[in-house]
């Protein structure tokens, strides 16, 4: 992607813009095994980003906030991620504290382990004045110093900046007011003021973090959310990217590069027929990299006991196959009520048939409907279990 913009100064810089690594994140809905792989993938992404930066001949990498999922992640996460960055000494990493890892008294960036194992190519943007990231390139950082700022930190960091010879890259983290206009958060980043400063030539690129989907903010083409390199939740539109930014005094080129290996997907399903169940089965089968896919299916409707039994089999199967599978009810949930064909399908007679009818009736409504549905599913399974 090439974006034309204002051309100011003859300086040139190429850097990699990323954010929201959230190293150490452990989704509760995953199994132990999947959580371990999920966490490891995020650390692996650091190495991939370093290699990409080297490959793209980037001068440096800016990580715009939420490098760590918390200031209190396991030491293993910290030392492994530092090792990944240290393994590429030619690439300088500038790490911006965000709301997940604010530069407060318990900041991980001030921890003894970070001090001991952080390599020379890693710099924490602590906001104490502009940082010379490359010749003629200045980083203006707006780190979070606590997790409840009461002002626009980016605007605070840019105050007093006048047009200069250097290229200025602003590193910030948080929500831009234009994207959440109804928000009342005083810490929201003012896009207007950023664009004014861009217009005035005081700053030249704004590298943002916090939004996990890659997003071009505003009209200047110089304000970007890089998105998270690995997805973290179902509601992210375009995660798994980093941005390679080619900035000079004439303009900026921003190119997204995909690095993510995990995938979140969710879909609402209304089930009523065997075709619906078939479609759901096909959807569950669709992810190419199943062990790194986290799927959420929200179900509603009414199925027969046989269909419910098939669904249960499907869910059991894909729970084992996928990285994560979450089945939830929506809009009243999914009811499993036997139809006439079901009743015949049970293959029972005599008193068993009468009991089956009782359960079917209970499954229609009432306080015990859900239990009765479960009982029918159990009965269905028992009638089919091998002797």
């Amino acid at each position: 992607m090439a974006v034309t913009g204002h051309r100011y100064y003859p300086n040139v810089v190429k850097f990699l813009h990323t954010a929201d690594w959230q190293l150490g994140k452990l989704p509760y809905y995953l199994s132990d095994e999947a959580r371990a792989r999920f966490s490891a993938a995020r650390i692996e992404a650091v190495g991939v980003i370093a290699e990409l930066a080297a490959q793209e001949q980037c001068d440096f990498v800016v990580v715009c906030g939420d490098v760590f999922d918390s200031n209190h992640v396991d030491r293993q996460v910290l030392v492994r991620s530092l090792a990944k960055m240290g393994a590429n000494p030619d690439i300088r990493f500038y790490l911006l504290p965000g709301n997940h890892d604010p530069l407060d008294a318990s900041s991980i960036f001030r921890s003894p382990t970070f001090s001991e194992h952080g390599s020379d190519n890693v710099t924490v943007l602590d906001g104490n004045g502009p940082v010379q990231a490359a010749p003629g390139v200045e980083l203006v950082a707006a780190p979070w110093t606590d997790n409840r700022p009461l002002t626009d930190l980016v605007d605070d960091a840019c105050k007093g900046l006048e047009p200069a010879d250097e290229l200025r890259v602003v590193c910030g983290h948080g929500a831009v007011d234009s994207m959440w206009p109804e928000g009342s958060n005083p810490a929201q980043i003012s896009l207007d003021r950023l664009e004014e400063r861009i217009e005035s030539g005081a700053i030249h690129y704004v590298a943002l973090g916090d939004r996990h989907s890659t997003t071009d903010v505003g009209d200047t083409g110089r304000v970007w959310y890089s998105g998270a390199p690995e997805p973290t939740d179902f509601d992210e539109a375009d995660p798994g990217n980093v941005l390679v930014v080619d900035l000079d005094s004439d303009g900026v080129q921003v190119a997204r590069r995909r690095v993510g290996t995990w995938r979140y997907e969710q879909q609402d399903w209304e089930l009523g027929t065997s075709l619906d169940v078939d479609a759901l089965a096909a959807w569950l089968e669709s992810p190419a990299n199943k062990e790194r896919s986290i799927i959420r299916a929200s179900l509603r409707g009414q199925v027969s006991v046989a269909q419910k039994a098939r669904l249960d089999q499907l869910f059991d199967h894909y729970t084992d196959l996928l990285g994560g599978l979450e089945i939830r009810d929506t809009d009243g949930g999914l009811a499993a009520v036997p139809d006439d064909a079901d009743l015949d399908d049970f293959g029972v007679s005599g008193y068993a048939r009468e009991a089956l009818s009782d359960l079917s009736e209970m499954a229609q409504y009432g306080e015990q409907a859900e239990i009765a549905q479960d009982a029918l599913a159990l009965l269905y399974r028992l009638t089919r279990a091998p002797a």
């Binding site: 989704p27 809905y29 992640v73 003894p112 606590d146 029972v348 009468e354 009991a355 009965l379």
Partner: protein, 875 residues
Amino acid sequence: MRLHRVRLCNYRGVTGCEVELPARGITVIEGPNEIGKTSIPEGLDLLLTKMDSSGHRQVKSAQPVGRDVGPEVEIEMSTGEYRFTYRKRWLRRSETVLSVVSPRHEQLTGRAAHERVEAILDETLDGDLWRALRIEQGAELWLPGFDVPSLVAALDQAASGDDATDEDDDLWIRICEEHERYWTATGRPKRDRSAQQARVETARSRVLELEGQLSSIDRDTTEVGRLATEERRLAMTQTQCKQQANELSEQWNATEQVRNEVERLAAANEAAALNRDRIASEQQRRQELIDELDSRTEELSDLEIRAEQSAPALAAAIKQVEDATAALEASRADLSTAEDEQRRAHDDRDHHRNRIEVKQLSERHERVVEAEQKLQQADTVLESVKIDDGLLEQIEEAHLAVVSTEAAVASVDTTASRDLTIDINGEEIVLEAGEVQHTVVDEDVLLVVPDTAEIQVRAGTGSQSLAAQRHQAQQEFRRLCAAAGVADQAEARQATEQRKAAERQRREALETIARDLRDLTVDVLRGKIEGLTRRINRYADERPEDPPLPPDFETAKQVAAARARTVEEKRADCDNCIQATESASGALHEEQLKESRLAGRIEESRNAKQQAAASVASARSQRTDSTIASELAQAEKNARDALESLADAKAELSAADPESLQVRLQNAQNAAQRASDDLQANKQTQNDLRIRLSLRGEEGLRTRHDEANGEFLHLEREHQRTQARAEAALLLHKTFSRRRQEARQRYSAPFKQRIEQLGRIVFNPSFSVDIDQNLRIARRTLDGDTLWIDQLSAGALEQLAVLCRLACASIVSPDGGAPVIIDDALGWSDPNRLERMGAAIAAAGEDCQVIILTCTPGRYAHIGNATTIRLPIDA
């Protein structure tokens, strides 16, 4: 299942036996004991259950004793769609041979044959039914429940018309197993579910604990941020306070200068005032000297005047003392004379009193001496006279006894008409004229009057006794008189009177001695008399004659009293003179003291006047009075000037308000110090918190929390799923259990009906039974009497046992069922019942295969349609 043929060979005592059985109806196999009837069902069991290689006890017991051959059993049977011949031999040349003839031919041997038959039977035969339909010989009467699949299926079919399947029973078992996975027999959750719940709670606690630790870190972090903000504020406050303190300090310094000036002026003022006061004081002292001199001069003059005025009073006092002293001397001389006369009078009075006392004492002494003599005399009498009133009385009584005895004895009184001498019993007695001689005649008495007559008086016969009494009385009388020291009664009376007089005299003498001696002895009394006598005599010798001794004691006493009164009067005069002398001496002493003090004061005053005059002269020689007055005027002016300057300076100091300024300065300094302290504490707290955070931050608490939370949610979901499955299993089990129970109640109707149908043949039309849920006969009703099954007689119980098996077999027979095998039952039944049982067995046997083994041929003779097979004796 139907048995068509059974063959035993070398089976226990049976060398060879083969029985053909009809597929339907009743077969009675008769034979005497130990011919092998019971071996038939036993051999069937061995064949169907024990492999040919088995060395089971049952197999070994089937081997004939003493023969080296193996027991062998062969049957031909049909079950389901299968018909086959099956043979086994054990222990010797073991073999198993199966020949299936339908539905398709199969020929198998060994284990394959055994397993094939097992499979066929599993497929086609209800094992429970097979066991339930048999009554074995000698076995305890047993009334089984017929809750067996075949009967249940048949009853279900009869009840509902549906085909009840084995799958339904399998399903029920699976439902029960599923239920038992989650619930105990008493309906409580199983232990593993409780353990799962506990694991969830433990995981939840772990999450909460970690959340607490993270919250603690968040609080510390927030606190550090707050402290950092506070630190900046405190630093600003500290700066402001210091600046304010400096400004106030400068003001304070300026005020201090004013204060110093005030102090200096105050000192100058004080010095001026002191100087003024010093000169004023000097002037005052000078005036005091002058005044002192004037005062002393005037005082001396006054004293000298008073000295002149007091001289006549002193002379008068001296004269008064001299007069009083002379009067006192005269009074004392008079008193001395009066006292001498009084002493003489007293001595005279005492002299007379001594004389009286000597006289009295001498009289007492004489009375005492006389009384002692009388006492001695009385004691002498008392010692010589032994008789007393008691002894006197005894003597008088003895005398009376003598007189009495003498009166009883004859006596002779001889009265002399002249003086004569007579002889009585040879004793010569002289009598004067008129004298009477009394002679007692206690024995013969010879009275001779010389020359006149001899008179013989003869004593009577009682005289001797009387004479003895008289003699005894006389002896007693004489003994008493001798004891009293008297001759006779009269003398005794006289002696008694003499003793009484002596005693009276003695008492009087003792009283006199006691009265006159009082507390003295005779010697003391005598000594006092002698002493007083010597004093009297000496006073008489020594006393001058003049004045003359008063004639008696009373006169002497009156003289002494008069002399005493004179002395009192003289002493009173003397006391008055002493008082007057003392008063005059006191007045003189007072005047002399006044005189002395006045002289001393005059001397002192004179000295003081001289000293004051010297002081005034000395002071004036140093500074004149006028010099002092001019210096005082100048000093007073200087003091006023200094006071005015001091007031001005104080006004300036007061305007500066140093107290408020000092308070403000102190407050500003304190505030600066407090801000400094707070700042220090703030930094220390921040430092502590940062150290703690640094340490806690390394623990990876968020990761541990997320892991724990994941585990908790996983466990909770798993627990919820388990709970849901448990609830589902419970509901499923309850629903099926209820429906199954209802079905059972419906099933039992045809079974009950069939039993009652057969039972009415045996008992009577009133016969009915109650069937429990396990399809077992619970109660029997006959002729309106209902009895529990265990209340029935052995015979009735045995009959019901046969009937319920027949009923069951006849119901399940259309679907195959199994043969009813009765090994010699009905031994408890009477002939009437046997007949009726025969009819009932015959009725049931139309629908099923009944095999009866008996050694009592007549017992089953009433089964009309039975086929009888008699086992040969040599079988």
